[in-house]
């Protein structure tokens, strides 16, 4: 038996060597299927992000199909779980591109996942439209042709936006940075630094924190010592709350200004401690809604069990995904085919009056303008007594 297995192994080795020499690749299908894939967190702590994408995308797909579909075919939306893990996201890209053979795909929640997807996306040559993950380099990746598009915020623009607001509120231009120790936070950090440099200054200190950290006093003590007047923060609600509480503990009240990770339930978690924390957003479902948004809100109530406007977690994601699907559908129509290459070319011709803004055009052939939502559409909001409102509706400055 053992002799036999040895010779079998040697034989096998010889055969596979010849097989490598003859190696063949599988043929690629010309026409893709009328489906739009997505890899996002369906389970795990960021599952709300995956759900917001699904809601926005499904509502758009239903509208399109109700109007007869695209090129006579009904569109389909397929979502796979990546639990926020990039390697699973990479797997999902291949499943969407190679197995399901979809015409395009939406990006997910995590920037790390989106960054990891760049390689397989360009390998497969499938249009990717990011709807949440905001890391700059997802889109500005140096590739040509570049298959990565985005209908969401871009950290480089967000950084400029936040830094400008922070400097307005810092008499001696002393800004400290607090960012989460993740792909998103680490990706944004150089953007914030660059934005400060552009304004002729630099940060007095930069500190990191991890998910689930329960106490930020060491970091904040160091920033206070460095003389920071305002904090530019990159992170999520749970850690945002710990920042608010740790500030209270050490008796310090600097200007707090953060990216949209704090737009979830920071006000609920930190209560009054979060008052006047300023947050950037692309879209808000709070307050009075325009008619189109009102209709969508009604659908969400009926179909997804949304009870109140506050229940829409990561509302920007819903709006971005909704707009992105419409943009892709228009591109397919312009291409006149489900051929991925033609759809890619058509992306630059799409004009669309969307929920977030009027995309005119959505994309241009520069690396920077693979992002559809322009800084002019960014909104500065503030937490006040548990609600995230436009700054003007609060006593905050």
């Amino acid at each position: 038996m053992s002799k036999f297995s040895m010779s079998a192994a040697i034989g096998g080795a010889a055969v596979f060597a010849t097989a490598i020499a003859l190696g063949t690749g599988p043929a690629n299908a010309a026409e893709a299927n009328p489906c739009i894939g997505n890899s996002g967190p369906v389970t795990g702590p960021a599952a709300f992000g995956g759900k917001s994408i699904r809601m926005g995308a499904e509502m758009a797909v239903d509208e399109i199909n109700a109007a007869g579909g695209v090129l006579g075919k009904k569109l389909k939306f397929i979502q796979y779980d990546d639990r926020g893990a990039p390697p699973r996201g990479v797997d999902n890209v291949r499943r969407i591109g190679l197995k399901d053979n979809c015409v395009a795909m939406l990006g997910g929640y995590h920037s790390t996942v989106a960054l990891a997807m760049r390689d397989p996306i360009h390998e497969i040559k499938i249009v990717y439209v990011g709807v949440i993950a905001a890391n700059t380099k997802v889109i500005e990746n140096g590739r040509n042709p570049n298959y990565m598009f985005r209908v969401s915020a871009k950290d480089r623009w967000v950084s400029k936006f936040l830094v400008a607001e922070a400097l307005k509120r810092s008499p001696s231009n002393k800004v400290g940075i607090m960012y989460e120790n993740t792909g998103w936070g680490k990706g944004a950090y150089p953007n914030i630094q660059a934005a400060l440099r552009e304004q002729g200054t630099k940060e007095v200190g930069a500190e990191t924190f991890n998910w689930r950290d329960t106490d930020m006093t060491p970091q904040l003590i160091r920033l206070r010592k460095a003389g920071a007047e305002s904090l530019v923060m990159w992170g999520l609600d749970r850690e945002g709350n710990q920042i608010m509480r740790s500030l209270q503990k050490i008796g310090w009240n600097p200007v707090k200004i953060g990216a949209w990770g704090f737009a979830g339930n920071l006000g609920e978690l930190a209560g009054k401690l979060a008052n006047c924390a300023l947050i950037m957003q692309t879209y808000s479902w709070m307050g009075k809604l325009e008619p189109r948004a009102q209709k969508l809100y009604a659908t969400m109530q009926k179909r997804y069990g949304v009870k109140s406007q506050k229940d829409i977690r990561m509302g920007s994601g819903v709006a971005d995904a909704y707009d992105a699907i419409h943009i892709i559908a228009k591109a397919i129509k312009i291409a006149g085919s489900f051929d991925r290459q033609k759809v890619y070319e058509a992306m630059f011709s799409v004009k669309h009056d969307g929920l977030v803004m009027n995309y005119d055009p959505a994309f241009e052939r520069t690396e920077e303008r693979h992002d559809a939502i322009l800084p002019s559409a960014y909104k500065l909001t503030a937490w006040y007594n548990g609600e995230l409102l436009p700054v003007s509706q609060t006593p905050c400055k």
């Binding site: 106490d215 006093t217 060491p218 050490i250 978690l269």
Partner: protein, 291 residues
């Protein structure tokens, strides 16, 4: 100086959480020589359910009692279905994996029902920090280590003064001897899991105002609590509490003086080193192995 004090106080609060988790592991281990690897999720259950009950308009004290009640039921059922059938398994893979499995199910169910967001549990203990020599700390954070120490003291009294407590120690010491004096070893084991789970639920409710309640709050707390229990010497209740408090304080000092980034690597390296030097943990009793 005030920074060092700040780290110390913050570390005490976090260490108190580890200590509370570790006490539960100690109680379970003593009676069953097995533990619930999903004990971290018992904390989650206590914290999350209290918020859910509050959402339903139930008054705070009742909500707390109800949550602890559910945690107890969880512990007892888990002991019966996931631990007892595997208790004799030599390599202990059995109960490790069954309890991990139940933890995964519980966490995923809670994520679906409760949502993935962390939510606050209101408490007067986190309204305002108190300032001690320039270092700020919430009363709740001081309450946690205090409760941990209090529980160890009460547990000691309970185990010395009551017949059931003595029976628990007897079972931990020698199951055969406990049986011949009339102690139903299975009942005591079940009671231990109920007690550990009650304390776990209570711990969850105590820590939620500080770290917020979320469906995923349990996993890391459970792992760290267990590691702390092992290095403290899982057979010694005061040992695990001391280890828990020390671990929390060391973590904060690493955060403050070395780097936030190095915390887990330093902490868990310490776990390995301590175990190499003290295979029974710092304060543990040698488990007799008969040749």
């Amino acid at each position: 100086m005030s920074a060092a004090l700040q780290y110390f106080l913050a570390g005490l609060g976090i260490g108190g959480i580890y200590a509370l988790v570790a006490i539960g592991f100690h109680i379970m281990w003593s009676s069953a020589k097995a533990v619930n690897f999903a004990h971290g999720d018992t904390l989650m259950l206590g914290a999350v359910l209290t918020i859910v009950f509050l959402d339903h308009g139930i008054a705070m004290p009742l909500a707390i009692l109800l949550s602890i009640g559910v945690a107890i039921v969880f512990g007892v059922v888990l002991e019966r279905v996931a631990i007892r059938p595997f208790a004799d398994h030599a390599a202990s893979i059995g109960w490790m994996l069954t309890t991990i499995a139940i933890g995964i199910m519980l966490e995923s169910y809670a994520t679906i029902e409760f949502g993935a967001f962390a939510r606050p549990l209101p408490s007067p203990g986190v309204d305002k920090p108190i300032i001690i020599f320039g270092a700020g700390v919430f009363i709740q954070e001081l309450l946690i280590p205090f409760v941990a120490v209090l529980i160890v003291v009460l547990l000691g009294i309970f185990q010395r003064r009551t017949q059931l407590g003595r029976a628990m120690r007897a079972v931990a010491f020698n199951r055969v001897a406990a049986g011949i004096v009339g102690i139903n070893v299975l009942h005591v084991s079940m009671f231990s899991f109920a007690l550990a789970s009650a304390l776990g639920g209570l711990a969850g409710i105590l820590v939620a105002p500080v770290i917020q309640a979320s469906a995923t709050m349990g996993l890391l707390l459970g792992i760290k609590g267990f590691a702390v229990a092992i290095i403290g010497g899982i057979t010694s209740a005061p040992g695990v509490v001391i280890a828990g408090l020390l671990y929390g304080i060391i973590e904060k000092f690493v955060d403050g003086y070395i780097s936030t980034a190095a915390r887990e690597a330093v902490g868990f390296s310490l776990v390995i080193v301590v175990l190499m030097l003290f295979p029974q943990g710092l304060f543990g009793r040698r488990e007799l192995v008969k040749v």
